[in-house]
């Protein structure tokens, strides 16, 4: 029976057959749960009650009105801005600087700056707890030595968010920088040399030649940094600040967790989760579209 089909059809059937176990797994354990979340987002349910009340778009409408969520959204934007500065702009500058240092020094840099990347976020959070600890902690001690009023970084509304940013920044800095260095290595030396012959100097060379050529890498790290700003920060928030003090360090993903597991508002929490998922889905499509465009521009 199968032998009657054309070679092309047979090949495509074989291909589909080989991907089907993986696709089956995704269907059952990723898409089905996601659809489940989407369905829950239209209901009011407290996790234990046998009945769920269908409420239509109410959960989504509440998202627009709830002030706590507004704070979480505002903080998510703040996290994003801070992290774009610390783990995108700063690594670009460091990468530029690194082209001037000795090869051996550069290697040492790479290993050092990259090492936090392989540490679990939960562990990274407690590693930094001591630095921020008001009693005997590093920053606290320096603060006191300088004669400043004692400051508890993690429980002061002004600094809690910054403290979380520092932890995530420390962990992700090297990762972004390594990607930038790899992207830089991919730019052909001939192009750079040609520009130098044409009179491009350090700054101009970077601004008009290297950065545009690096843009696929920069887009990639921009998207992953945005996802870090929403998701990565969750673990240190959960372990160290609990979103506080007074919601000062909460973010959108922490709010998803808090609504479901602390206040048992499963429907509302699911609605936020779906909204976040959709935002990232759109961003991902945008990134793929953009990188395809830039690649073709590069090859032309």
């Amino acid at each position: 029976m199968i032998s009657k089909l054309s070679l092309k059809t047979r090949n495509s059937l074989k291909g589909l057959l080989l991907v089907s176990p993986a696709l089956f797994f995704f269907a059952v354990f990723v898409y089905r749960p996601l659809i489940h979340t989407a369905i829950l987002s239209f209901h009011d349910w407290n996790m234990v009650s046998p009945t769920r009340l269908f409420v239509g778009w109410d959960n989504y409408l509440e998202m627009l009105e709830n002030p706590a969520l507004g704070k979480a959204l505002q903080n998510s934007a703040l996290y994003a801005v801070w992290l774009i500065g610390i783990i995108i702009l700063l690594p670009i500058l460091t990468t530029a600087g690194m082209t001037y240092v000795h090869n051996r020094v550069r290697k040492m840099f790479r290993v050092t700056l990259f090492s936090p990347t392989v540490v679990s976020l939960g562990i990274a959070s407690v590693m930094w707890l001591w630095v921020f600890n008001p009693i005997g902690g590093l920053l606290g001690t320096i603060w006191e030595e300088l004669g400043l009023a004692p400051l508890n970084w993690l429980s002061s509304p002004k600094t809690a968010l910054v403290a979380i940013v520092i932890i995530v920044g420390w962990k992700a800095f090297g990762y972004n920088m390594l990607l930038l260095l790899a992207g830089l290595g991919g730019i052909s030396g001939e192009v750079i040399d040609a520009c130098k012959v044409d009179g491009a100097d350090g700054f101009g060379l970077w601004l008009y030649v290297i950065l545009p050529l690096l843009s696929p890498t920069i887009f990639f790290i921009l998207i992953s940094t945005l996802s870090m700003a929403t998701e990565y920060v969750f673990t240190p928030i959960h372990v160290l600040t609990g979103g506080g003090p007074v919601n000062a360090s909460t973010n959108i993903v922490f709010e998803i967790w808090r609504q479901a597991f602390r206040w048992f508002r499963v429907g509302y929490s699911s609605a936020i989760a779906i909204a976040v998922f959709l935002i990232f889905f759109v961003l991902m499509i945008f990134q793929m579209w953009l990188s395809e465009k830039v690649v073709s521009y590069d090859e032309r």
């Binding site: 074989k14 990274a124 590693m127 696929p216 989760a273």
Partner: protein
């Protein structure tokens, strides 16, 4: 004269390089150094001001940690969950990667996109349905639910990595073997798998690192029985205060394998961590 001036500039450059490097290296490695040193300190040494750099190390924290029953349980859980999830993810990912690398079929582009998109879904968006899935099937707080959860990021990752490694093998290799009378399955199992052995090893170690470090799923889907090692540090953040010594010992032991694994795959780290977006 001129060359003397150049060499002086070079010397100044070198000094700036070295001091700058040392400061940066110190800043980045400081939390590590402090964690390790704290794990060898007793209670009094921990809070000494100014902080102690040289002291009589004690193994008391490690002894206390190993004496805890949960340490053994969590460690075994971590190993079991990771081994199973990595093995199963390869059974699912290797054929899929081969298909995406070698076959042309309808909707191939869409399928690759959907596999990648799974990876992009924020963990927290699926952790809530996983929680219900677990409670519905009665497998909450078991290793099984964690294995399933870890598969959700290991399978797409392994598929993409392996596809990249398989793309590097010329299709002529397959065609020659097929002409010689091998079946597709033989080509896959006797040629492609051995030829991508390095890639398989690198991918599996990257999966190991990610699963070993995973924190969110482990925290929400388990309570006591199936907890994994990274979550153990939260046990030392008590209402009475932080148990610094033991917590540092636990953190040091959790970080160690990840560092060793990372050193093993350092060549493939960039490709792996950028999900194939950047090749080195």
């Amino acid at each position: 004269m001129n060359s003397a001036g150049t060499s002086r500039v070079k010397a100044v450059d070198a000094i700036v390089d070295v001091t700058g490097t040392l400061i940066l290296v110190f800043l980045f490695l400081f939390p590590f150094l402090w964690m390790v040193s704290m794990s060898f300190k007793d209670r009094i040494q921990t809070f000494q001001i100014p902080p102690l750099w040289f002291f009589q190390p004690t193994l008391e924290n490690y002894r206390a940690l190993f004496a805890r029953e949960i340490f053994g349980t969590y460690f075994v859980n971590s190993v079991a969950v990771i081994v199973f999830s990595v093995l199963v993810s390869f059974v699912l990912a290797a054929p899929a990667a081969y298909a995406l690398s070698r076959f042309d079929f309808k909707g191939k582009k869409d399928i690759s996109f959907w596999i990648l998109s799974v990876r992009m879904a924020p963990a927290i968006a699926v952790v809530i349905p996983y929680f219900f899935l677990g409670s519905f099937m009665g497998i909450l707080d078991t290793r099984l639910i964690l294995i399933i959860a870890y598969l959700s990021f290991n399978v797409p990752f392994a598929t993409w990595m392996l596809k990249g490694f398989m793309d590097e093998i010329p299709t002529e290799v397959d065609e020659a073997a097929l002409i010689d009378g091998s079946s597709r399955f033989q080509v896959f199992s006797r040629l492609i798998i051995p030829l991508t052995a390095n890639g398989l090893a690198a991918t599996s170690i990257l999966c190991l690192i990610q699963s070993w470090n995973e924190f969110t799923f482990a925290l929400f889907l388990t309570t006591t029985e199936a907890r994994t090692l990274p979550t153990i540090v939260t046990q030392f953040l008590t209402f009475q205060g932080v148990v610094w010594g033991e917590m540092s010992a636990a953190a040091t032991i959790t970080v160690l394998p990840a560092v060793v694994f990372a050193i093993l795959v350092r060549k493939h780290l960039i490709t792996g961590l950028s999900f194939g977006a950047v090749k080195e």
